[in-house]
């Protein structure tokens, strides 16, 4: 206890505050890609956190930097992406500072990530069973036979019938939904504390999507994991998440509890997203979000949403808005909430 207090004190002194509930904290993360001239910050000064056993939704349209952020958390971003600055704290440790060898122990054991494309995320030459057994062998030092047994158990838990037979299947013999189940089994095998699900249902049909989300929710509850859910689908966020982070062109526009954000969306972009959503409880017209993120947005140092913003002001082109708390636990980065 004393050690922990000292630890916390030390962190507070070093400018980093933390409470026991906090699992992941991303601080001022910037990631750049090379562009025609110089480099462009595709993720710019992104900060958010995930608490234990919490589900956080990361939402934004294509190109807003969600996947790049997720890969950076896993420390799997590769050239030409470059993490320019920022820290990623996981359980009080800076992941950026870890050696590759230590990161290999973090991946799969503490943090796992379900990929976007289930069908191509399994090694086509390896039996499904062996692929699920791998994390057990890597992280829990099990022998092959024991690991296989656990793998079979995992297959059953993710709802694959005939687990025994599918242990020996090759990935091409599985459907997309089954592949995703297998990947979930693989990723949660060693009970990570954080599961990143990067659009886990792209390419699956709607009924299977619902099943996969139900499965994620179930394994999360069974294992008391936190989930960082990356998605385009606000409905899914409303369903599964406690808090959400709205990203646009590499900026975090709004964070808050799902209730707050849906009730009182602060940022014009969030409002735009919400209006684009079909809702059963509202008869208002659906307004499409329209064209995607402009290339110019990434080079802007002011508000990157300005080119598309319905309530754009002069200041939006001039400087980057400050992050303002509109209510407890609800922050918006927009000049509309400028404090005079």
């Amino acid at each position: 206890m004393a050690a922990r207090a000292v630890d916390q004190l030390a962190r507070r002194v070093s400018g980093h505050t933390s409470d026991a509930d906090e699992l992941l904290r991303v601080e001022h993360l910037s990631i750049s890609f090379p562009a025609r001239e110089g480099r462009v910050a595709v993720v710019d000064d992104v900060s958010f956190d995930v608490r234990r056993e919490e589900t956080v939704g990361l939402v934004g349209e294509s190109g807003s930097g969600k996947t790049v952020t997720a890969l950076a958390i896993m420390r799997l971003s590769r050239s030409p992406a470059l993490v320019e600055k920022g820290q990623i704290w996981f359980e009080g440790e800076d992941l950026q500072a870890k050696t590759e060898r230590l990161m290999c122990q973090v991946r799969g054991r503490s943090i796992s990530m379900i990929p976007q494309t289930p069908r191509s995320s399994l090694n086509p030459l390896m039996r499904v069973g062996d692929q699920i057994a791998r994390p057990f062998q890597l992280h829990q030092g099990m022998g092959r036979r024991e690991a296989r047994q656990k793998a079979r158990e995992m297959l059953r838990q993710v709802g694959i019938s005939e687990a025994q037979r599918h242990m020996r299947s090759y990935p091409h013999q599985l459907s997309g939904g089954m592949s995703q189940r297998v990947l979930i089994a693989m990723m949660v095998a060693c009970e990570p504390k954080l599961l990143i699900a990067d659009e886990p249902t792209t390419g699956l049909d709607v009924t299977i999507q619902a099943q996969i989300f139900a499965l994620i929710k179930q394994v999360q509850q069974d294992r008391r994991m936190a989930v960082l859910l990356i998605t385009h689908d606000l409905g899914v966020i409303a369903e599964l998440c406690q808090r959400m982070v709205v990203m646009y062109a590499g900026h975090v526009m709004e964070t808050g509890t799902v209730g707050c954000v849906f009730e009182k969306p602060g940022h014009p972009y969030t409002r735009m997203l919400l209006h684009s959503m079909l809702r059963i409880d509202r008869t208002a017209d659906v307004t499409p979000v329209g064209r995607g993120i402009e290339d110019i947005a990434y080079t802007m140092t002011s508000c990157r949403f300005a080119p598309r913003c319905p309530s754009v002001m002069d200041i939006c082109w001039a400087q980057k808005p400050a992050i303002v708390a509109t209510e407890p636990g609800h922050q918006v980065m927009c000049h509309l909430y400028r404090q005079e």
């Binding site: 995320s121 791998r134 091409h172 990723m187």
Partner: protein, 296 residues
């Protein structure tokens, strides 16, 4: 679920599975006369090589001044050469040596080449640049000329022949595997493996290498035939393997002196043996290549 149906559907992202033709291929190979003829020839040669001493009662090195240039007969199936040695005995023992050399050459080139190529494609950067330039230099010579030069420098021994031809063949495997590696390197399953904590090297070895070796395996089958030809070629030119060792190239070389006289058996049979071997391996390689390319 509908696994059968799905397994038939081509999936652009799922890579070729190199050994699937073994399990599933038998069906599709039916009616491929060339393949079975080639297979028969190669298996025949392998049989001769393995059981060489049992097949022929003669010592391939034993000379007999009284039996020079005997025409093929029931006693000497392929006649005798200028020292009275039994041609058939020499031919069969040569099969053993030539197959051994050919397999060693390809084994060396395949293992070294694909490991280097895989590494080069995966690591990239400086290592890749340097290795590729070395490969460029090696490939700017025709393989046979390169092998000739090396064999001449290294000196005459079987080991040196293997080394010389092996090194000359390695660049092809480096390039092939590197190219495939560049294709598979960033496929999602590599990332997924990394996500559960598989180290970069294990990912390379267990997940990426097996998925990028297919073209090299086809190339290896083809190279077996070439290696035979090149070994015999070197020996014919007097490099590498020298008389009196029974080797096809040596035998052709010795027989070639009689090409204008009547002793046709001294050059025809070893020449035919080379033809059969190269034909056999090429036939197999062709079928494999057609099979793999159809999958892609």
């Amino acid at each position: 679920m509908t696994t059968r149906e799905l397994s038939r559907k081509p999936d652009a992202v799922v890579r070729a599975r190199p050994l699937r033709w073994v399990t599933r291929g038998a069906r599709s190979l039916r009616g491929r006369k060339l393949f079975f003829l080639s297979l028969f020839l190669v298996l025949g040669l392998l049989f001769l090589a393995v059981f060489a001493p049992l097949v022929v009662p003669y010592n391939p090195l034993k000379t007999n001044p009284e039996e020079q240039f005997l025409a093929p007969s029931r006693v000497h199936w392929m006649g005798t050469d200028q020292f009275g040695r039994d041609m058939f005995a020499r031919l069969v023992h040569a099969t053993r040596l030539d197959l051994m050399i050919s397999f060693s050459v390809v084994g060396l080139a395949l293992v070294v080449g694909s490991l280097l190529g895989a590494l080069s494609g995966y690591v990239g950067g400086m290592f890749d640049d340097v290795l590729m330039r070395v490969v460029d230099i090696l490939q700017s010579f025709p393989a046979f000329i390169l092998a000739m030069g090396m064999a001449a420098v290294l000196g005459n021994s079987i080991g040196n022949v293997i080394l010389a031809i092996g090194v000359a063949y390695t660049p092809y495997f480096v390039r092939l595997t590197r190219g495939e590696m560049l294709k598979v390197r960033h496929l999602e399953y590599a990332d997924a493996a990394r996500c559960v904590g598989v180290s970069p090297w294990r990912t390379l070895y267990y997940h990426l290498l097996p998925n990028s070796i297919t073209p090299s395996l086809v190339q290896a089958a083809l190279a077996l035939g070439w290696a035979m030809l090149d070994t015999a070629g070197l020996a014919f030119l007097g490099l590498g393997i020298r008389p009196p060792v029974p080797e096809w190239g040596v035998m052709v070389s010795e027989g070639a002196k009689n090409i204008l006289s009547v002793e046709w058996w001294t050059w025809l049979f070893p020449g035919l043996a080379i033809f059969v071997a190269v034909f056999g391996f090429n036939g197999i390689a062709d079928t494999l290549r057609a099979r793999v390319m159809r999958e892609e």
